[in-house]
Subunit: 140 residues, 2 copies
Amino acid sequence: MPSRRADPVTVEVVELIGDVVARYHTEYEHVAASHQLTGAQARVLNLLAMEPLPMRRIAQKLRCEPSNVTGIVDRLETRGLVERRPDPADRRVKLAAPTEEGLRTADRLRESLDFAREPLAGLSTQERTALRDLLKRMLA
Amino acid sequence: MPSRRADPVTVEVVELIGDVVARYHTEYEHVAASHQLTGAQARVLNLLAMEPLPMRRIAQKLRCEPSNVTGIVDRLETRGLVERRPDPADRRVKLAAPTEEGLRTADRLRESLDFAREPLAGLSTQERTALRDLLKRMLA
DNA sequence: TATTGTTATACTCTATAACTATA
DNA sequence: TATAGTTATAGAGTATAACAATA
């Protein structure tokens, strides 16, 4: 292998992706903070708004240890945004589910995020389609 | 404003960007960990490998409070990867600079990252160019 | 007076290991 | 015995406020 040095365009794309990542992260944390939530809390609340999940599944989605989820859900529960329910099928399992207020907060969170993520507005439909296809291929 | 609901393609692109962000983050942390560094430490070391910086500037680059940089640089300094130097022009300022070993680590880190980021290899030069231009417009 | 870096403090996220209650 | 969730613990990143040295 004479060299794995990337060509100039690849280097540019990698840097741009770094920019996208930084921007995405900054905006996500900012929107979460505007709802008095940390990034991790916002992610969990958003997950649970789609469907209630066992603690273990949350950890898998977040790619972290199950012990961490206990604290995150604790804090959401203290805030009245999430509640733990027993799983009728397996008494070892606790299902974390959003409360009514949690669902409302998740909705407002998602609206803010849609808005914050709208740097795409400057692209035409054709361009967005092209971007979608390229990103898909890249992640394949 | 009747609705700010995004069109389906935009939703798809936003989700794909979320995937890219997650993947980038995972790989960055993984590569950093393989060098016994946290993500924040790797980012600072990478910054300093480009040029020595005052503590204040590092905080600005990381978008965090200056007090946090003290600890991160402390840990890099304990590891012998970074050193603090006085700024001859302003005795209040401390310049953080990589040691020889720090530069070597930064080089190996960057090589690993180039390799890890190579999902781009599946795209042709034309496609990479198109992706670059779309990302640029998106970030403009 | 204003600025640079640090310290002190408190909170959150993180992983590891040990514990409990179920299965 | 294996699994789900928790607790205990320790390390790291984060923000805020107060401080010393220097400008």
